[in-house]
């Protein structure tokens, strides 16, 4: 995907136009993935058209709480973000890296599975999620070694962003400067406008690929009022953030305080269940599993998502490096908000709030950072 500056002059789609967009993408061989309601949550899955969208539903999110509620309108994208992120498509939770065979002569050979990189079209990608993809691009694509399978899936992907019309209770993208408005990293971006009998989507192209697809979808030019209304949507959302995080000096704050008593405090609540790392759209840690079949002649190596909250994660001969919950929580949060900056030139946090919502005991990382900062400020003022 090439980076283009978003058009400022917008176009407008109606719901039939949005349906046509799904069809055009499918005609071009994309697997169209978007939000849908399942198991009382809004999740991302392959969907055939607009009828699968969670029309008229929103999500209520607080630390450790997530619930769907009916909206008063029939908005298609009237929710914040759910437990899924797009990483499960670009960086699959389980992927066979290669298989090995041991012949009758005992000699081992290795074969890489034939990979035709999936061609995904993602519908409804939020600004924070665009930033999360950019973060993972740096992790998987810019080191001395490149994850070629990720890179192939990523460069094939067509991205339709949606500007958030309301913020969730655990959102803090404004603090992380990652939203709520999609400004880069998309092929097309939608702003949903709903009121009276009108149900429209302001649409802008962010890439040449986006422009070409848009040409094949019936659309009109947005009126000045519609363009104004779309801008107002993002402004209103920005003012509704459920959380905020003071990021001033956050790298030093965390790196310089590995012995802060707050780590023990949070560890007393943390279940080390790894939920936060599974729902995080940037967490990239993986492990490998080696299997062999009953003949003992065939083996395979499978990469799976892993979490720094497990004991196995840090195991070396003799035991785990991080046995205490406090050291595992410290590793996660210090990596996410501080070490990531040294490693990849960006924070690992995009302010989506998933780790807060999906923590079974409602640990809120914005609160944990604030507590560490407050204790130090108090120490200084004494």
């Amino acid at each position: 995907m090439q980076a283009f500056k978003a058009d400022t002059s917008g176009f407008a789609l109606d719901t039939a136009g949005l349906q046509r967009l799904f069809e055009v993408l499918a005609e071009d061989g994309y697997r169209v993935v978007g939000p849908t309601r399942r198991d009382d949550a809004i999740v991302y899955d392959e969907i055939g058209g607009i009828t699968a969208l969670p029309a008229g539903w929103t999500d209520r999110q607080e630390p450790g709480r997530y619930a769907l509620e009916r909206r008063e309108d029939n908005a298609f994208f009237g929710y914040a973000v759910g437990p899924h992120s797009w990483k499960k498509f670009l960086f699959p939770p389980s992927e066979t890296l290669w298989s090995a065979h041991r012949g009758d002569d005992g000699v081992m050979t290795v074969a890489v599975p034939e990979r035709t990189a999936d061609k995904f079209a993602f519908i409804g990608v939020r600004a924070c999620e665009l930033h999360a993809m950019a973060v993972q691009d740096r992790v998987f694509g810019e080191g001395p070694y490149v994850d070629t399978a990720y890179a192939a899936r990523r460069s094939n992907a067509f991205i339709v962003a949606v500007n958030c019309a309301e913020a969730g209770g655990t959102c803090f993208c404004v603090s992380m400067e990652t939203g709520p408005r999609a400004t880069q990293g998309f092929d097309l971006a939608l702003t949903e406008l709903i009121g009276g009998d009108e149900h429209l989507f302001l649409i802008e192209a962010g890439s040449e690929a986006g422009r070409r697809i848009l040409e094949r979808v019936p659309h009109g030019t947005a009126t000045t009022e519609q363009a104004e209304a779309a801008r107002a949507v993002s402004e209103r959302t920005a003012s509704q953030m459920g959380r905020s995080l003071d990021t001033r000096g956050i790298k030093e704050l965390l790196q310089d305080n590995p012995e802060h008593p707050r780590w023990d405090d949070v560890a007393a609540r943390c279940l080390t269940c790894a939920n936060c790392t599974m729902v995080c759209p940037t967490c990239f840690c993986s492990t490998v599993e080696d299997h062999s079949d009953l003949t003992g002649q065939n083996a395979e190596r499978v990469r799976k998502w892993d979490s720094c909250f497990t004991m196995d994660y840090s195991y070396i001969h003799g035991g785990s490096v991080r046995t205490a919950a406090s050291s595992r929580y410290r590793q996660w949060m210090t990596h996410k908000l501080a070490n990531w900056i040294d490693q990849f030139g960006t924070s690992g946090c995009v302010g989506c709030g998933r780790c807060i919502t999906w923590c079974p005991v409602g640990i809120d990382l914005t609160e944990e950072v604030a507590a560490i900062r407050a204790a130090l400020d108090e120490g200084r003022s004494r």
Binding site: A100, Q255, C285, R301, D306, S327, N339
Partner: protein
């Protein structure tokens, strides 16, 4: 983003075990030759990921320098499922090899200076290629000291090499054990106790340290007490490692990835982290 890398860094090359030499009760040295093609070049201190068929992969440093032989030499201690499977390999068996990975010992930077090698237990294995390189061009270095600490006399690695190095007049070799029977006539005590009586100029020396983390912490502190600046003390760190290419996250040590920023790191970069429990 670079999507044009032809070689998949996750896929191992196949090597064949040429010979197996028993070093200790629980450690062997494997000589590996590529089944096809040639072995890539590498620097002392770098490591490979060795794959035992169907069992898994572990990070093991090369224990003989690249200038000797056409393959890789690895000393493996049976410490778990994978290293155990590797240690049981017999001549002719095949295994997977990915590498070389990571940073090496600062052998070139040590030219013109005194060299201090401090090894604890199996830590001598990753240091041996550096020692070989220094001794092969001995005239380029100042005084050379090799300090080796082991738990007991039966844990001393590469006794044959140690004897040869000891016979040289231009190398100072000291071996110490933590505890020993009455038949041991050498040093007893931790390897750090040998530092104060070793001949080196703290302002013009490079120290290369490898061993258990606690031993390296004490050695680093002993070297600093002797006056060495942290920038001239190098440690080879160890963490869990799954990919060795900076993608799996496991080997993080603060902001450093041990697989690509290490394993060999200057103390000045990690001194703060070394002091923190469970980092």
């Amino acid at each position: 983003m670079r999507a044009d890398i032809a070689k998949d860094p996750f896929v191992p090359e196949i090597y064949r075990v040429g010979s197996v030499r028993r070093e200790l009760a629980d450690a062997v040295t494997l000589e590996l030759e590529p089944v096809s093609g040639t072995r890539p070049d590498f620097r002392p201190g770098q490591f490979n990921m060795l794959y035992a068929f169907g069992v898994g992969e572990v990070a093991i440093s090369m224990s003989v320098g690249a200038s000797e032989g056409t393959g890789f030499v690895h000393t493996v201690r049976n410490a778990g499922a994978v290293s155990g499977a590797l240690a049981r390999l017999e001549p002719g068996a095949t295994l997977g090899v990915r590498g070389p990975f990571g940073t090496g010992w600062p052998v070139a930077e040590a030219e013109g200076r005194d060299v201090l090698i401090v090894a604890g237990g199996l830590g001598l294995a990753p240091l041996r290629p550096a020692i070989q390189e220094v001794l092969a061009r001995r005239e380029r270095f100042g005084r050379v000291t090799i300090l080796v600490g082991c738990r007991s006399p039966s844990d001393i690695l590469y006794q044959h090499d140690l004897e040869q190095w000891k016979q040289r007049l231009d190398v100072n070799v000291e071996v110490t054990v933590d505890h020993a029977g009455t038949d041991w006539h050498g040093n007893v005590g931790f390897v750090t106790t040998l530092i104060p009586r070793s001949p080196f100029d703290p302002d013009n020396a490079i120290a290369m340290v490898c061993g258990p983390e606690v031993m390296m912490r004490f050695a680093a502190s002993g070297l600093q007490k002797a006056g060495m600046p942290a920038g001239n003390i190098y440690l080879s760190m160890e963490r869990n490692m799954k990919c060795a290419i900076g993608l799996c996250g496991h080997c993080q040590f603060g902001p450093a990835f041990i697989c690509k920023d290490g394993p060999v790191l200057p103390l000045e970069r990690i001194a703060g982290l070394l002091a923190v429990q469970e980092i």
